[in-house]
Amino acid sequence: MSGSLLEVTGVSMHFGGLTAVDNVTYTIRSGEVRGIIGPNGAGKTTLFNAITGDLKPSSGKVYLKGEDITGLSPDLICQKGMSRTFQLTYVFPEMTVYECVWVGVYSKARRASTMFFSQADRLKDVADKTMELCRLVGLEEKRDELASNLSYGDQKVLEIAMALSTEPALLLLDEPTQGVGPQEADGIVQLIELLSQRMSILLIEHNIDIILRVCHNLTVLSFGRVIADGSCEEIGRNEEVQRIYLGDITCS
């Protein structure tokens, strides 16, 4: 598999007189792990929102697998194979871990014949996949806990599991380790590394070490504009990036 999975061409987002995202263009190939970095307020999350259907881009186009998805609603974009997590934890508080993941898995396995009267827990294929996902992210033991009772780090992991549950070809992670202790953060990074072997990932992250550990390529945003785009080594040598943001960077 090669070729571009996601193509973002000239996307801008204006709010009133404010330009939050300014003519952003980049491409993600199949299997690529790309990081988006930039100072606070550079428009990273807004860009995510514009790609995933939360916001309709003021101008520009977004293509997923060659198909124009600009301005489609989030549910359709999700069904087409792009899934995301949120900066603040965004789970179903009064549902169990298992149920949270189950809802996502069923989204893909949805059928009118099972929707209304089948007993939810007797759908074997959905149950198997849900368990498999819980196991994959390491929440198997906690599957019957309410999502709201989980630790913050576990909620972040659950979020990733929920994003995975719809079988995305492209996974968008918005600061998956923000506010998480170092030990739990390390677990999350290992999970991302594992996932990067199976799918493409677009990652917003402040922690440069993590970015360098998992990403192949970087897009650097500042004030809504792309100021650099390339492999980690190239970005590391880019003087403008060094000046604006990074200080020093070395690729591992």
């Binding site: 549910d75 999700c78 009064e94 549902m95 189950w102 209304f116 089948s118 007993q119 929920m162």
Partner: protein, 307 residues
């Protein structure tokens, strides 16, 4: 998990008790219980809306009224039998709920509340005005045809007729809540935006819940009419939209059978208090405030938990 088990056990015990009560109760109490069972159907339907998808509708009197008139008009004007008339009532509830839902479910929370209230208020005015169709405030009364050769004028038949529908409604709704659809509803209640990003069209599922809820409202309206042999424009009154909220809040939203407690308490309250106090609604208002106070932690915890 534990809570679910308790509610289910409560529901089964209640249904058993109700099955026996029909035979042993004196006639006055029996008709009160019939009313409680009818309102319980209304309340369970409403819970699908409020408790499972977090849509606080103030327009459900419309479905109650639509069901009532669907039934009585098809009996009076079209000489339909009881079961076909019930079918007409359900279709009427479905159509009303579907059309109202198309307009309302995509609105934000505050707009949803206001617009459902406005629409049902307008329908109340229209029902009062169109006396040629509805009989206005005086209402319409009719003789109710027998069902399978049994007359509803026999209090036992009436009791078990209503009981049957309570049982069936409970089983159907419980099944739906336990099905994938129910889980989707709950996920939408818990965090609509997250559910949207998991690939669910929120508007569509909210509409399904709203229509489902409206159809059971209409069923309750039809059964009420058949029991009272009477329907009036007052069935569209705002009061009938507030009652289901109160029932569900007392019994606990999102529990399906919990609202039966609310219905029973409110019906007993109304039955005994309205007998000696003309300003019964004054106490009703105070009661609403007390309920909110007492069940505050539950209520708040409930509404707070939704992103």
């Amino acid at each position: 998990m534990e809570r679910k088990g308790i509610v289910t056990r409560f529901a089964l015990v209640s249904l058993l008790v109700l099955a026996v009560l029909g035979v042993v109760l004196p006639s006055g109490a029996r008709s009160l219980v019939v009313q409680i069972m009818i309102f319980s159907i209304f309340a369970m339907g409403y819970d699908i809306c409020l408790g499972y998808t977090n849509q606080c509708s103030l327009g459900h009197s419309m479905f109650f009224g639509a069901g009532a008139y669907g039934a009585i008009l098809s009996i009076m004007s079209f000489k339909l039998g009881l079961i076909p008339a019930l079918g007409v009532a359900l279709v009427a509830g479905f159509v009303f709920a579907f059309l109202l839902g198309l307009i309302c479910v995509r609105l934000s929370e505050a707009y949803f509340v206001i617009v459902t209230a406005i629409i049902s208020a307008v329908f109340h005015l229209l029902a009062m005005d169109m006396t040629w169709l509805t009989g206005g405030d005086d209402g319409l009364s009719t003789t109710i045809p027998p069902v399978f050769g049994l007359s509803l004028y026999n209090p036992y038949v009436n009791y078990y007729f209503v009981f049957f529908f309570l049982l069936v409604s409970y089983l159907i709704l419980r099944r739906i809540i336990g099905a994938p659809l129910g889980r989707i509803f709950i996920s939408i209640r818990e965090n609509p935006r997250r559910a949207h990003f998991l690939g669910y069209n929120i508007t569509r599922y909210k509409l399904i819940a709203f229509v489902l809820s409206g159809v059971f409202g209409a069923l309750a309206g039809a059964l009420y009419t058949m029991t009272m042999r009477y329907a009036s424009a007052d069935y569209f009154n705002f009061y009938w939209s507030v009652l289901p909220i109160v029932w569900c809040l007392i019994g606990g939203t999102g529990t399906l059978a919990g609202c039966w407690i609310g219905v029973a308490l409110m019906s007993l309250f109304q039955y005994y208090v309205s007998a000696w106090f003309t300003h019964y609604l004054l106490l009703f208002g105070i009661l609403i405030l007390i309920i909110l106070k007492v069940s505050r932690r539950g209520m708040l915890g409930y509404f707070a938990g939704r992103g």
